[in-house]
Amino acid sequence: MKLVRDTWFVFGRYFGLFIHNPAWVALGVLQPVIYLVLFAPLLKSIASVQGFPPGGAYNVFVPGLLVQLGMFGAAGVGFSLIAELRAGVIERLRVTPVSRVALLLGRALRDMLSIVVQSLILILISLPFGLSVHPIGVVITLALIALIGLLTASISYAVALGAREENIYASIVFTATLPILLLSGVLLPLGLAPQWLRNIAAANPLSYAVDAARAVFRDQIADPSVSRGVAIMLVLSIIAIVIGARSFGRAVA
């Protein structure tokens, strides 16, 4: 009960910070539009390439874009935490009896919410271009993206608390996210990849999320890859939350 209460307060604080900053809100809405405007024109011609998966071009690419949005959207959240470390905000919060899990979860849920809203915008503006998806598919996809956001945000905060400096944090996060994204088949389907690359990708948890999202957009909600992708993200999210909360518990100057 205390955990829920504390999480709600912490969420409220960071949501308030976000919503009172018009630039961030505008940027948040604009981002998915940019993805679509700058990326979608490439889709038409590439869909005819041999080995390209079945389904419309948008139904293949939008799920990948969503996963990327979930990950990149949350990868940078640690920057604001480092500024707060420097201002003594985190130390001040850690001296109160507030739950350490709430300190992490409250902020990560705020990040998750903004990613879900962005994803929804991306899906909605893709519909006129020929994206077709069942409403239940949208719900499943958003849940999947929410988990990816929660997972990435929790890890980002843990890394930021360990790094304590923007430069170190940035190099860790961007060195880690790039191969994970490339090996997940987000940008181009791994069906086009040689076998050795596919073998490496099989060890990448994010590729299961991409598989799940693509299956949903092929209208194969019952496909085992969907529940597998969601389950893997769920388990990893829980682990990431535990790691992140522990970092808040012992953050040392």
Binding site: L17, N21, R86, A87, G88, V89, P97
Partner: protein, 318 residues
């Protein structure tokens, strides 16, 4: 008197790949209920590390401590309910208004929305933050920000308040206001544990003082006790030419307890100033040294610090 803080052999070691640093090497402290306790020492002496351990922010590497009646190792949550902490960096967010911060802080301590709002309003009045309470904290002056930070530490009316260098970087006027605030807390019965590297601050504000150097307590007592322990009186003099000659001449005299050069003048710790002064004049005259200045004063905490650590706080603080 009931103890609010009691530590035995409190230690903290920082390990990195390259080195092991013993920041605090064994601190024994007793802070009594209701007093203003000053923790004095140069930068890097272990003040902040000790404070952060006592405030549950940093687990000790060894030793035991009781804070506000609870064991530091096993009951950190209970301690957090009872203490307030204001760190060096403050703790308020530039992007949030003072009032919002105070209400949020109250909610974290379990207050209802109504109670938290009421408490925030009271603190804003008490700390005279009315003019800026509804502006973002990034717009505050140094003194306003420090008062807000102190307010955040007082939201739940803690029985013990930790202040880490509360007046560092403040102008003299803001500094005096923080002192007033600390005295008012003291009058309300709050125990205050503060660190400082200003001797005048410790002297003016604190009931008792501990001096820490290289991670160890080197002296503890009331400012008066500490000053008395130094020696009876302090004579400061300068001569024309080499100060070293005057020092060599005077340091082995029976009436001089201790002598040293400090800041270009000769410092003599003597038992009784009125007896020493004529003798000093005679000796200098006999050796053909011309006296330029001479002064007699009661020992200050500066002298205590110099005596205990072998260096002046003024030079180490820089």
């Amino acid at each position: 008197m009931e103890a609010v803080i009691e530590t035995r052999g409190l230690r903290r070691v920082f390990r990195s790949r390259r080195q092991v640093v013993e920041a605090v090497t064994g601190v024994d402290l007793t802070v009594r209920k209701g007093e203003i306790f000053g923790f004095l020492g140069p930068n890097g002496a272990g003040k902040t590390t000790t404070l952060r351990m006592l405030a549950t922010l940093l687990p000790p590497s060894g030793g035991t401590a009781t804070v506000a009646g609870c064991d530091l190792r096993t009951q950190p949550d209970q301690i957090r309910e009872r203490i307030g902490y204001v760190g060096q960096a403050g703790g308020s967010d530039r992007e949030i208004t003072g009032r919002t911060e105070l209400v949020f802080q109250g909610r974290l301590y379990g207050m209802s929305m109504e109670a938290a709002r009421k408490r925030a309003a009271d603190l804003i009045t008490m700390l005279e933050l009315e003019v800026c309470a509804d502006r973002k904290a990034g717009t505050y002056s140094g003194g306003q920000k420090r008062r807000l930070d102190i307010g955040l530490g007082l939201v739940h009316d803690p029985q013990l308040l930790f202040l880490d260098e509360p007046t560092t970087g403040l102008d003299p006027q803001s500094r005096a206001r923080v002192w007033d605030e600390v005295r008012r807390m003291h009058d309300r019965g709050t125990t205050v544990f503060l660190t400082t590297h200003y001797l005048d601050e410790a002297d003016a504000l604190c009931d008792r003082i501990a001096i820490i150097d290289y991670g160890k307590i080197v002296a503890e007592g009331t400012p008066e006790e500490l000053k008395r322990a130094v020696a009876g009186d302090v004579v400061t003099l300068t001569v024309a030419g080499e100060q070293q000659r005057a020092l060599d001449l005077l340091k082995d005299q029976a009436f001089v307890r201790e002598a040293r050069l400090d800041d270009g003048s000769v410092l003599l710790y003597v038992d009784r100033g009125e007896v020493a002064m004529p003798a000093i004049l005679r000796l200098l005259d006999g050796a053909g040294l011309t006296l330029v200045t001479i002064g007699l004063h009661r020992p200050s905490l500066d002298d205590v610090f110099l005596r205990q650590t072998g260096r002046s706080l003024r030079e180490t603080a820089a």
